[in-house]
Amino acid sequence: MTKEELEQKQSSDITPEVIGSERAILERTWDNGKGFYAWLTDCNHKSVGIRYIVTAFIFFVMSGSLAVTMRTQLMGPENRILGPDMYNQFFTTHGTSMMFLFAVPVMLGMGVYLVPLMIGTREIAFPRMNLYSYYLFLFAGILLFVALILNIGPDAGWFAYVPLSGPEFGIGKRVDVWSQVVSITEISALAVAVNIVVTIFKQRAPGMSLSRMPLYVWSMLVTAFMIIFAMPAVMLSSTLLSMDRLSKVSTHFFNAAEGGDPLLWQHLFWFFGHPEVYIIFLPATGFVSMIIATFARRRTFGYTALVMSAIATAFIGFGVWVHHMFATPLPQLGQSIFTASSMLIVIPNGVQIFCWVTTLWLGKWNIKAPLVWIFGFFGIFVLGGLTGVMLASVPLDTQLHDTFFVVAHFHYVLIGGGIFPLFGAIYYWFPKMTGRMLNNTAGVVNAVLMFIGFNMVFFPMHILGLDGMPRRVYTYATETGWGNLNMLATIGAYVMAIAAIVFVVNVVYSFLRGPIAGDNPWGADTLEWSVSSPPPTYNYQYIPEIEGPNALWDMTKDHAVVTGLHLYSRELLHTTIHDASPEKRHQTHGPSIFPLLTAIITAGGFITFMFTPWSVPTAMFLSAVCLFGWFWSNSTQHRPPFASIKDNLIYDDGGVPREVAI
């Protein structure tokens, strides 16, 4: 195209009439339809993200009620509210569900919703695979809780150590339910991880080079890579376990009598299990960075240090798993190496804490509910991190391991480090997701109640653990003297439950009646705050060019935008990995029923594998059929024909063309 042609084209650009007519066309192109069928097939990243978050919170409430019931059982010695059978099912389901059905999916759901918006693209890289992953996650959750209701809930712990979970001691189908829930959710998590990596690498708005990426996007990128390396280990172990257990297959991977090895399970499981906690924690660090920057009204101090810390955490996180096995008969020297690596990981986490505290120290505070949750995060997470230093020491761990001290420790890091920032993030992004503000006062009350309740539940557990109370016990003798502190913990659990009710009421009420939020109610920096609340299906009519390390705070009034993306098909802009300079246009996909069908086949295949090995070839054949339909409907000739106004991608900078890309 010659320069004259370009300028001629340009002259017709971005007048109010053009904006209006183009918006109307975009609305139609990106419309997902209405009705039940459209709801089943809608694969827009925002719909899927919100579904992920809502579903995960429902599982959170369900497994939280299990926890409250367990606390009621432990309230006094020799209680008989839950017998050992129910208690074991409850704590296994609580752990499995909180890890696999709440903490990871909710973080991924937030990522699925926020990452495309924050990097300035119209859609996630593989929207249909995204929808597929959601359905798998949903089916796994239904499987777990239906099994619990039918009294075949897993009862060998969320870690399912063999031989207790093996065919000899784990009778019935209970452990099979666990292993299939794990396999299904991990497929789902892997699909999201791939999606997020590709989206971040290829779809950032022009000018958003890696060094300008918001810290939350960095944290999701690192998390996604961790998932890609960690989840296969647990899928492998859960698959080996279900093969050991299935009577017609009866492999002996973990069967000591036939040369299998019970410690192999622990290695495989914790090689996944420890990175898992960073998979939950790292997205939360992203929330913390975002919220602190917005409410301290300044750029985050130590951007590079924070990015490097996240990456370092990810690397070291894969080298610490043996600290879960310090009591096993492993060689001493090998264990010492894991003491060193477990202490090493404190350094990047320390750097993160220092950078956030410094940001707050140098800022002017706008104290609103999200920031209050972050204060709670500091108060709890720092303590949890410090007890983690204790657990890294082999000799000390032999006293603390598998006691209530450890229960206290990991709830401090997971609830303090994951859930408090998450609640802060919900208060922060709720206006963007729904267009309405959450009630601020209720949010502060919510945070304070949660903080008090949390410390009432979990602080006493440190002392109980030192006082000899092991984990996973359904009761204890009166003479142990553990009754008082357990009673305190149980009262705290009810306070936490009240805090959760305040949250639910606030969300429901504000969703219906809350004050309307503007585009940017917090005066925040990242790109998602430049579009309407809630954002249009296509997110950005004109993708802005990023001009500095702060997306909106650095944005000038007449900044450049991208024009020329196809109006009549769902088109995305691909940019280069490092500099995010425009590379090509890419057509993405709209609603389809095949993700749902394939998810039904996949989940069905895993569930029937509890009973027969024939489920594997059957499910493979059926999913091949589904995937055929899926890819067939993907191919271009089945899409609406081109009727483009503009063929080329142009930066529009107030009428002067600057760059052309194809």
């Binding site: 500091f378 006082d467 502190l485």
Partner: protein
């Protein structure tokens, strides 16, 4: 010890509640032996260091809360912060990171040294070897006499050790993974099938302590306890000698003798051993000297006549899921049976 007491006070006061009867029977911060003492002092080192770090971070945030200016969402964000302030902050953060690294290094070396010290006992030959086997959900304890295996003493859910002597514990499991934890004496060690393992400890303070299974092992994980008695070597030897004796058979015609007959003729003998009789079952605990034990059902019940009766009749009520079946005896038979068991001293 003086240094430690106030620290424990701090910890307990912080919780606002002191466990009512922490009489030192089951606690990692109430050491009764040299190994546990080293672990306890390691704990207090870690406790104080981390407590200081926590307080510093919290004080910084609280000071910032009071000294920092307030703003609102209209406030112009600081996108190009003052470079002198930023540089000073960078130096301070760098210093904090350096202190962190040094602290961690010191803690790591302290931990290695403590670990070596705890394990150093195994370098000399032990005075006593005890084999502990984990079962769902009880402990089989076998005092071994390498010179003369007929002197071996098998008991269950109780451990007697002489003070001031090196004790070698050999651990094994034949079913699932258990973990033997005697917090007042030593850290825990897992009993993993096909991985027999050992540890060494020494008890210094006489007294009664509790140990408990620390690795989840199924239904009755909560009720898998072991009663530990640390006593003078003389008392220990008396106890051991009593254990080596076969209890004399009850005289004919007594209620104990009827109880023995019931024991041998009903299901009891299929699972339990009583030396000197035909009962040689290995599924359940050895009952040769059951009357001398303070507890039954792996520390769940005191060893009284009523508890024995309740346990024999309906163990599923006391320990749901336990492998011992319910037994129906007439009142007379039950009385005779418990009388027999109480005679097994």
């Amino acid at each position: 010890m003086k240094r430690r007491q106030p620290a424990r006070g701090v910890l307990f006061i912080a919780a606002g509640l002191v466990a009512s009867s922490c009489g030192g029977r089951q606690s990692a911060v109430d050491a009764a032996g040299i190994q546990a003492e080293r672990l306890e002092s390691l704990w207090w080192i870690f406790f104080w260091v981390t407590a200081v770090v926590y307080v510093v971070v919290m004080v910084l945030l609280i000071v910032a809360f009071f000294r920092n200016k307030r703003s609102n969402e209209e406030e112009r964000p600081d996108t190009i912060p003052d470079p002198t302030r930023e540089n000073r902050a960078t130096r301070i953060v760098g210093g904090a990171v350096a202190i962190t690294v040094i602290t961690l290094f010191v803690l790591m070396i302290t931990s290695f040294r403590a670990g070596r010290a705890v394990n150093s006992l195994g370098e000399k030959p032990p005075d006593l070897s005890i084999k502990v086997t984990g079962h769902q959900w009880w402990w089989e304890v076998e005092y071994q006499d390498e010179g003369n295996p007929s002197n071996n003493v098998t008991t269950a859910n109780e451990l007697h050790v002489p003070i001031g002597r090196t004790v070698k514990i050999m651990l094994q499991s034949n079913d699932v993974i258990h973990s033997l934890w005697m917090p007042n004496l030593h850290g825990k060690k897992d009993l993993v099938p096909i991985y027999p393992t050992t540890f060494y400890f020494e008890a210094d303070k006489p007294g009664n302590y509790w140990g408990q299974c620390a690795e989840f092992c199924g239904y009755e994980h909560a009720k898998m306890r072991i009663a530990i008695t640390a006593e003078s070597p003389e008392d220990f030897q008396t106890w051991l000698n009593a254990g080596r004796r076969t209890p004399p058979p009850p005289s004919d015609g007594t209620v104990e003798s009827r109880g023995r007959d019931i024991f041998l003729q009903s299901v009891c003998a299929q699972c339990h051993t009583v030396s000197g009789t035909n009962a040689a079952g290995r599924v359940g605990p050895n009952l040769t000297h059951i009357a001398a034990r303070p507890y039954i059902a792996a520390g769940s019940l005191q060893n009284t006549g009523e508890n024995l009766e309740a346990w024999i009749t309906d163990p599923q009520h006391i320990k749901p899921g336990v492998y011992m079946p319910m037994n129906q005896y007439s009142d007379d038979d039950l009385l005779a049976l418990t009388a027999y068991l109480k005679s097994l001293k």
